[in-house]
Amino acid sequence: MNDMRFTERTVATDEVKIAAKGVQVYYGDTHAIKDVTIDIADKTVTAFIGPSGCGKSTFLRCINRMNDTIPSARVEGDIRIDGEDIYDKRVDPVQLRAKVGMVFQKPNPFPKSIYDNVSYGPKIHGLARNKAELDEIVETSLRRAALWDEVKDRLGAPGTGLSGGQQQRLCIARAVATSPEVLLMDEPCSALDPIATDQVENLIHELRERYSVVIVTHSMSQASRVSQRTAYFHLGEMVEYGDTGDIFTNPKDERTENYITGRIG
């Protein structure tokens, strides 16, 4: 872990964006998340780390209610974004997901053109009044995803024809286009090569200025590079949560220390 860059550790704001209290998730009879309580700050990159199957992705999917699409999944507890209970009956999960964007492990651009990929969300939610506004949203989103210069001449080309790293940045642009407040990333670099990973990590740094970013990662060096806060998950429990620097240099829990020093996971 000699490439750790303990830069920009300061959390820009202490304002709580997402507040989870006593969250339990069951898949059928399996108890996947056990009593997780966490406050995630705004304009911050929060990393979830932990061994495979520890529930970090599951918890991430609770934040935009993606678990609703799995018939056997059951979520209990209380998750609030800006103080609003997202599991309240009055909340439409579809509207929530526009506010809480998500980027998946494998790049999954739609089999459409680059332009249509990015304009998909804005079109569905009616964010643009006319073509010019839509064009602008597409351009801004692609710029934010650091992809504009590479694709501006071929917006009509299929998104599936881009390289892996470009596809993933396209998916980020697609998520950014609905102007979310929170961006969830589920191992966004695990299918990318080192160069593409570096580009996406730089992007995450920039995204932090506008969004609250929550990233699940298997790579501890990535967590240390991109995040300000880190939460360690183990067997469905959240073991430790704190500033990234503290977690990596001075873990309080033995399990965290074992994981970070490479004895488990």
Binding site: N64, M66, T69, P71, V94, Q95, L96, R97, A98, K99, G101, M102, V103, F104, K106, N108, P109, F110, P111, K112, Y120, G121, I124, H125, P158, T160, C171, R174, A175, T178
Partner: protein, 487 residues
């Protein structure tokens, strides 16, 4: 030696060869199978293959060629005065063959000795043959008998040569491989190459058969166009065949039949595509596992119903119902057979095609696409319309075109549901007919395969074939052009 015994003998040789080959390989490896290049059984199989494959292939070819080759020589024995044209010669040759077979049978059953058979006289032969159950049409002409005896002699000689050649081939195959069998011989590669040849052969047979069908259709069609002008066939608006018995010229225009075919097919697709597609979407995207578990097989039962049963349904239920409920009250006609009846019932028949194929294709769209769309705040319906259906479109188009080919080629439902009247009309409650129905009606009953009224069936068939081929090519083109690559 009869082919049956010859095959049995070659098989026995192959078996012996297999055992010997395996033993020799083991011996050359000093009894240690690990020293061998291939597993011991491969050496046995290799020897067996070399013994049996060439011998049996040559035997098969021989059995096809021998009668053809002998026919020419025997027909030359019949004096030219005995027949008038090729047709009469064919009949004579059939008699020759029947008599030769009858004599062989008589010898086999002991009714005649071999010498008696050779010396048989034309006068009493017909009665003798009748005793053992071989009927000869007319009194046997001496020249026919001479030809028959000639055929028997040539046949016997050819059979002998065949036996010798086949056994020699089998023995040569054995000697060749057995000599080469040793520990370092690559028996596995050799056997696997033989399997490869088998696979190639199987696919070639499928292709050649298709080619054969097309060619035979093509020749008969050309034959038809020599007797009937092609422009009349393709552009005449009347279908009015007149069979030779009644006299008069026929008008054989394909357009009324094509019109009926397309009209019925389009109605069938209008019925089946929305129902099939919507049920596929429901089953694959909305329905729970348990509902899907029994609904899908149930839907596929529809595909298993024979089309004649659908035809009965059209004839007895749908036809009269449409007539009494819609056509008669609206004054659109009073025929129970109608384009609408056949189209509706055919549409029902096609539902499982469209739905089952579309369902598979929709299921093949990766879950990541759905997740990506839901993650952006799309509803299930938006996801289906804007992501899943476009991604599945090439496959769905393929399914629809496949259904269309079925509709165009369908016969039974049309016979019973739409009637047999060839006409061009826009009223869907009128009886019309299709290309396939007319092919059947031109070829049933007393047919003369040299009259245009019969040969037209081949032209109709070829046209139909070209249409469905065109549809399939179009389907392939669409699928290729719009196919999206998933990982």
């Amino acid at each position: 030696m009869s082919p049956f015994w010859l095959i049995l003998l070659v098989a026995a040789l192959a078996l012996v060869g297999a055992v010997l080959g395996r033993r020799k390989a083991m011996a050359s490896a000093g009894g240690d199978a690990r020293v061998l290049h291939s597993l011991p059984n491969y050496y046995g199989a290799n020897v067996a293959l070399f013994v049996a494959a060439p011998a049996l292939l040559v035997l098969a070819a021989w059995m096809v060629i021998q009668p053809l080759a002998l026919d020419g020589r025997v027909s030359a024995m019949i004096p030219e005065t005995a027949y008038e044209d090729a047709g009469a010669l064919n009949l004579l040759m059939a008699d020759v063959r029947r008599i030769a077979e009858g004599l062989d049978l008589a010898v086999e059953q002991g009714a005649l000795t071999a010498a008696e058979a050779r010396a048989a006289q034309a006068e009493d032969l017909r009665a003798r043959l009748a005793e053992i159950g071989v009927a000869v049409g007319a009194e046997i002409d001496p020249s026919t008998l001479v030809a028959a005896q000639g055929l028997r002699m040539l046949d016997a000689r050819a059979d002998l040569v065949r036996t010798v050649v086949i056994l020699a081939l089998a023995a040569a195959g054995f000697a060749f491989t057995y000599a080469r069998t040793n520990a370092s011989y690559r028996a596995r590669n050799s056997v696997e190459f033989a399997i490869l040849l088998l696979l190639i052969g199987a696919s070639t047979i499928a292709i050649l058969t298709t080619l054969g069908i097309v060619l035979s259709m093509l020749f008969e069609t050309l034959n038809f166009f020599r007797q009937y002008p092609a422009s009349e066939f393709f552009f005449s608006l009347t279908w009015d065949p007149s069979f030779s018995g009644r006299g008069g010229a026929s008008t054989l225009g394909i357009l009324p039949l094509l019109w009926g075919t397309l009209y019925i097919s389009i109605i069938a697709l209008i019925v089946s595509v929305p129902i099939g597609l919507f049920s596929a979407i429901y089953l694959s995207e909305y329905a729970g596992k348990r509902f899907r578990g029994f609904a899908k097989p149930l839907l596929e039962v529809l595909a298993g119903i024979p089309t004649i049963v659908y035809g009965l349904f059209a004839l007895i239920t749908v036809g009269p119902l449409l007539r009494d409920a819609i056509a008669s009250p609206l004054g659109l006609g009073n025929s129970a057979s109608s384009v609408m009846t056949a189209g509706l019932v055919m549409g029902i028949m096609l539902i499982p095609f469209v739905s089952s194929l579309s369902d598979d294709i929709i299921n093949a769209v990766p879950q990541a696409m759905r997740d990506g769309s839901y993650g952006l705040g799309a509803t299930q319906s938006e996801t289906i319309r804007q992501v899943i259906l476009p991604a599945a479109l090439p496959g769905i188009v393929g399914a629809i075109l496949l259904a269309a080919s079925r509709a165009i080629g369908e016969t039974m439902i049309v016979v019973l549901g739409a009637g047999a009247a060839a006409k061009i009309d826009v009223n869907p409650f009128e009886a019309m007919t299709t290309v396939t129905v007319k092919i059947v009606s031109q070829l049933t009953g007393d047919t003369d395969f040299s009259s245009p009224e019969t040969l037209v069936a081949f032209a109709l068939g070829l046209t139909l074939f070209v249409m469905t081929l065109g549809l399939n090519v179009l389907a392939l083109y669409i699928v290729r052009k719009y196919r999206e690559q998933y990982e």
